[in-house]
Amino acid sequence: MDLLEYQGKQLFKRHGVPVSPGAPATTVDEAVAAADEIGYPVVVKAQVLIGGRGKAGGIKLAADRDEAKTHAEAILGMDIRGHTVHELWIEKASDIASEYYASFVFDRAAKATLVMLSTQGGVDIEEVAESDPDAIARVHVDPLLGFQDFHARELAFKAGVDADVVRGVTTLLSRLYDAYAAEELMLAEVNPLIVTPDREVRALDAKVTLDDNALFRHPDNGALRNPGAEDEQEQMAKERGLTYVKLDGDIGILGNGAGLVMSTLDVVAQAGGRPANFLDAGGGSKAEAITQAVEVILSDPKVKAVLFNIFGGITRCDEVAQGLITAFEQIKPTVPFVVRLDGTNDKEGRQLLADANLPNVHTESTMDGAARKVVELAA
């Protein structure tokens, strides 16, 4: 899960990473009150999980209350590359002498934490990596040793940070590591990390990715919400404990096992169709989970046909069939279903479906055949 800038900054602050004073706001009144409290000038920043907020007009400097009000009105509800702005972050404006870059990345290929520091911050770091790779100092940290002060010094000297802020930068890096390690982050990125004219070092932005699997140890992080990022179906699926990803097509997909569902999306696309979602009903799917999954899939109005692709291992095909029958009793779907059942108890499952004689449900025996059929029905 990715955090909004302000959620990331509040997390940083808990671990001693210096950030500017600020407050979140969801209405114009809240924004103005926050700005009054903080003291002008302030920056009004759109809170959305997409880059290029500044260019899109989502970050504005306000010298006084009138400007704060004008900007808050303009930015709340604004669409930034498909993301609607529901929240603002009002922050004390900063004077900037230099812009650096710092990050801790969970580097799965290297099986270690990658730490990067550069004096070329405030721009897209992937571009810097391409045009001037030597401008980024890198260190891999042994997970059993952790990030030590010498790592921080090595990075600071290699990156060529100004001599008078080496201490400030290394301290910030150590605190940022504390946040990364203690909160079990997959990414903690600061871009830009600023040096002010009076030589203070601060995180002016925050990009944080949480490890969803670690949230049971961090209930406060698990409770963080981003109303703009989750659509209706994803929210519904989450409440029902289903793994669902919204896609932009019109063929609803349900399968068991992440790999098989990904493969199903690919096979449907190869047959000329466009999947509406990824939905993994999980190993050992019980009838009730299947019924709930159908509910979620059909709540997307774009869905014109649904494909069930089940290979029964622990999951029993008769359970899946029973779940579908119940779903038909409760929801009475109007779109066609194609059901491919193979593996454990597949004959029993197909028999149940045949006996139930559900309207507009087609059974297929192969994955490829089922994909072709559902594409035909959705056309």
Binding site: N213, V245, M262, Q270, G313, D342
Partner: protein, 291 residues
């Protein structure tokens, strides 16, 4: 022959007294796997259908000479259980548990590599099946028979799908190894392909990958340099959108890395044929090995 699990396997199951743990341990036992012990702290002295339960891995190893562990405990206890098994001298740990925090996995991976005695398969994997010999994990063994195709995969049901396509064309398997769908798997494609290359029973290797990370690209290089046996690949997630986790914690395209197309190209450019569907994988296997 087979790899990793077989007639020499002496299995201890962590979490054997849990509902899922009991179910699958007994399934494995009925298949013929030598299940010698279980571990559940506080339940030492009990038994599960005749399999003795111990408080610690060390007790289990001392009393039963267990050499392989299966981890079936919930995510918050799994890293500890893997480390305990390794500390007790277990050579092979197979972790079925899904949902282990990534930082835990990284610590475990690093510790096991440093120690050098224990191989970890998984976590978040279906286990290993060597048809006719032993089944450790949750792979539905009824669909697979003994044969000459070795399968290594990041996913469970997709492996069954591919294995079933192969079975329908008359192929059996030396071993089927699920390496798991997490960001830091204990063993990589390369680790398992190396074993298949050395296994006399295996004549063809099928590797089933998916989006996320670079393990498939690394395997492609390794195969070109070190593997004499034919390898057929499959990559799931060609149509997966970037930035979305597709079910498996490790299945995510991040920025410009981890995409399916790059993996397919890496494999094909090094002479590995890649099926575009599970069915095509089996068709290529037929072309390579004959019927």
């Amino acid at each position: 022959m087979s790899i990793l699990v077989g007639e020499d396997t002496r299995l201890v199951v962590s979490g054997i007294t849990g509902r899922e743990g009991t179910f699958h341990a007994m399934n494995n036992k009925r298949y013929g796997t030598n299940v010698v012990a279980g571990v559940t702290p506080g339940k030492g002295g009990q038994d599960v259908e005749g399999v003795p339960v111990f408080n610690t891995f060390r007790d289990a190893v001392d009393e039963t000479q267990a050499n392989t562990a299966m981890i079936f405990v919930p995510p918050r206890f799994a890293a500890d259980s893997i480390l305990e098994a390794a500390d007790a001298g277990i050579e092979l740990v197979i972790a079925i548990t899904e949902g282990i925090p990534a930082h835990d996995e990284l610590r475990v991976y690093t510790q096991l590599k440093r120690d050098g005695r224990t191989r970890l398969i998984g976590p978040n994997c279906p286990g290993i099946l060597s048809p006719g010999k032993a089944n450790v994990g949750i792979i539905p063994a009824a669909f697979f028979k003994e044969g000459n195709v070795g399968v290594v995969s990041r996913s469970g049901t997709l492996t069954y799908q591919i294995g079933n396509e192969l079975a329908q064309r008359g192929f059996g398997n030396s071993s089927i190894v699920g390496i798991g769908g997490d960001p830091v798997p204990g063993s990589s494609f390369i680790d398992v392909i190396e074993l298949f290359e050395a296994d006399p029973q295996t004549e063809l290797i099928v590797m089933s990958g998916e989006i996320g990370g670079s393990a498939e690209e690394e395997a492609a290089e390794y195969i070109a340099a070190n593997v004499s046996k034919p390898v057929v690949g499959y990559i799931a997630g060609v149509t997966a959108p970037p930035g979305k986790t597709m079910g498996h914690a490790g299945a995510i395209v991040s920025g410009s890395s981890g995409g399916a197309q790059a993996k397919i190209e890496a494999l094909e450019s090094r002479g590995v044929r890649v099926g575009r569907t599970p069915t095509q994988v089996a068709e290529i296997a037929v072309e390579v090995l004959g019927n």
